[in-house]
């Protein structure tokens, strides 16, 4: 324990003596962690977007104009009981026309002369978008639904859930995830290389010092101590700086981005941020320690 304090003291004095080297490695760690942090936040945003896209996957079950309310209620409660279903709602013919009018900008509605060709529908929101096919086939096999559905000859035709769209969406969001994961991994790797390089150079600059310590009878552990401490100190300072800048980004830049880019969801919870920060601190520390230890190895062969 005494030597722990020796190491701590040494690393602080080493710090102030080799200020420019120290600054160099702190800046490297800081920037590396900053990039990683930004990309982790970016990853959360992509994830948000992907899951909001996925959550838009819903099933619409068209109901014939002359279905009785009782039957509709039966079907609705049946669907509500299915696994993977989040909520069920009913859209009347009028609402359907109104929705269509709003989402489509073609003039076709104007040409209908008061007719309403659109059927009423039961709208099913799914809690797990991946279960869409299963839920759809269960609805389809429900006998009451088969009676009240818009096209009784072929109940499957009355169920719309855009199989293709769903599949495309999944491949898309998965791809986006993979690419951003690959990018984050690449950046983490690059940051590791940078930090390792920096530490190696810093230790290279002090190889003579290390050699002298060894000649005076210092054991490898004793020599390694202050250097490891110094690496850890740099990592902690670098991580603190990175967290500070990320906090600034979080409170100053993210809100602006959010108002500007309404279609992206920058709403990342505080636990996510905490997770990111802890990750940064821990990985910075690990990188600093392992980097120092590794870089020193070749100067400690006795």
């Amino acid at each position: 324990m005494a030597s722990f304090f020796y190491f701590l003291r040494e690393s602080f004095t080493g710090f102030s003596r080799n200020l420019s080297t120290a600054l160099g490695s702190i800046i490297t760690i800081f920037l590396s962690l900053l990039i990683i942090g930004i990309f982790m936040i970016g990853g959360y945003v992509v994830d948000n977007v992907a899951s909001s896209l996925e959550s838009e996957v819903s099933i619409t079950a068209f109901v014939s104009d002359d279905a009785s309310e009782a039957d509709i209620d039966t079907v609705e409660s049946y669907i509500r009981g299915l696994e993977g279903v989040q909520s069920v709602s009913f859209t009347t013919k009028d609402q359907a026309l109104e929705n269509f009018r709003q989402t489509s900008n073609s003039d076709i509605i104007d040409t209908l002369d008061g007719q309403n060709p659109l059927p009423a529908s039961i709208d099913v929101e799914l809690s797990d978008p991946q279960m869409v096919e299963q839920v759809a086939s269960q609805i389809e096999s429900n006998t009451t639904f088969q009676q009240i559905c818009d096209e009784p000859d072929n109940p499957a035709e009355s169920l719309k859930y855009g199989q293709q769209t769903v599949e495309r969406l999944f491949t898309l969001t998965n791809y986006v995830r993979y690419i951003s994961m690959a990018l984050v991994a690449l950046l983490i790797f690059i940051a590791l290389v940078f930090i390792n390089n920096t530490i190696r150079l810093a230790i290279l600059a002090r190889r003579k010092e290390i050699a002298i310590m060894r000649l005076v009878g210092a054991s490898n552990g004793f020599i390694r101590g202050p250097f490891l401490m110094e690496g850890a100190l740099h990592a902690v300072i670098g991580a603190a700086l990175a967290v500070g800048v990320l906090e600034l980004l979080r409170y100053l830049v993210l809100p602006k981005l959010q108002t500007a880019l309404m279609f992206l969801n920058f709403d990342i919870g505080p636990t996510a941020f905490l997770f990111i920060y802890v990750m940064l601190a821990v990985s910075g520390l690990i990188i600093g320690l392992i980097g120092s230890a590794f870089a020193m190895r070749r100067y400690l062969k006795v």
């Binding site: 003596r17 310590m213 060894r214 000649l215 009878g217 210092a218």
Partner: protein, 270 residues
């Protein structure tokens, strides 16, 4: 002579310094002047060292000798004759190409790497090129040798200034090596070597950068340390010193042992 001792050489009376050091040095009585027939501290047995960069001219060639506990030995020889190589093998900075070296019955050629620091802590070594840590002050450089062996801060705080006073650097405690003169650096190196009272003291050219008066002071110090039972090996070119002190002299010439005699003088060829 009007020279003020506190500048050129440490301000100590021989009596005072001896008593200070004796408290610190190995367990031999001061009056017990050692005899050459003690135990062998250093044994060279047909040692040859050939540097890879210079394969056809051995730096040391088939050296066999013994140095006993409590001896004071001069190692002389022309420039490039292998004195520093001899010393570097003693602290296992390098290994011999063939032959065996023993220090205090431990065989350095088979010694495990992790034991080397413990060997070095028992050998005080003054390096020809000083080997001071450039980022530490004089005090810290000397203290380092004590920190390494786990001495408490209290011990360090008392012993380091004392030993620096012995070599005449009491007012340079907080200077860094590049703020010292050559001779001052050399004396820091000497202080570091003796501060943890090693049973074996090796000095490579300890007075090469010192004026005659300071040199004599350092030599007196080494002699007194020797008188407390410490084995002392000094590689030197200082003819005056060797001739005056009349101790055992080992001479090397181009890696070959050419002379080894009690009460010798500076003469390389037998």
């Amino acid at each position: 002579m009007t020279y003020d001792m506190s500048q050129g050489m440490p301000a100590y009376s021989a009596r005072q310094a001896t008593s200070q050091l004796s408290a610190a040095l190995p367990e031999l009585d001061i009056d017990d002047i050692p005899q050459s027939y003690g135990l062998p501290v250093i044994t060279f047995d047909h040692v040859t060292k050939i540097y890879p960069a210079q394969p056809n001219k051995p730096a040391l060639d088939d050296i066999s000798l013994e140095i006993f506990a409590g001896e004071f030995v001069f190692l002389i020889g022309h420039s490039g004759s292998g004195k520093s190589t001899f010393i570097r093998m003693l602290i296992r900075e390098i290994k011999p190409t063939s032959g065996t070296i023993k220090v205090a019955d431990e065989d350095l050629t088979t010694m495990r790497n992790w034991r080397v620091p413990y060997l070095r802590r028992n050998i005080g070594c003054v390096f020809q090129d000083f080997k001071l840590l450039p980022n530490k002050t004089v005090f810290e450089n000397v203290a380092f040798a004590l920190e390494v062996i786990g001495k408490s801060r209290h011990v360090i705080k008392t012993q380091v200034p004392e030993v620096l006073r012995l070599v005449g650097l009491q007012d340079k405690l907080n200077k860094r090596p590049d703020q010292l003169s050559g001779g001052e650096q050399q004396r820091v190196s000497i202080a570091r070597a003796i501060v943890n009272r090693p049973p074996l003291l090796i000095c490579d050219e300890p007075t090469g950068n010192l004026d005659p008066q300071t040199s004599r002071g350092i030599m007196d110090l080494l002699e007194r340390i020797n008188r407390t039972g410490t084995t002392v090996l000094v590689a030197t070119h200082d003819r005056e010193m060797v001739d005056n002190m009349r101790r055992r002299v080992i001479a090397l010439d181009r890696g070959v042992l050419t002379q080894d005699r009690e009460r010798g003088v500076y003469r390389v060829n037998g």
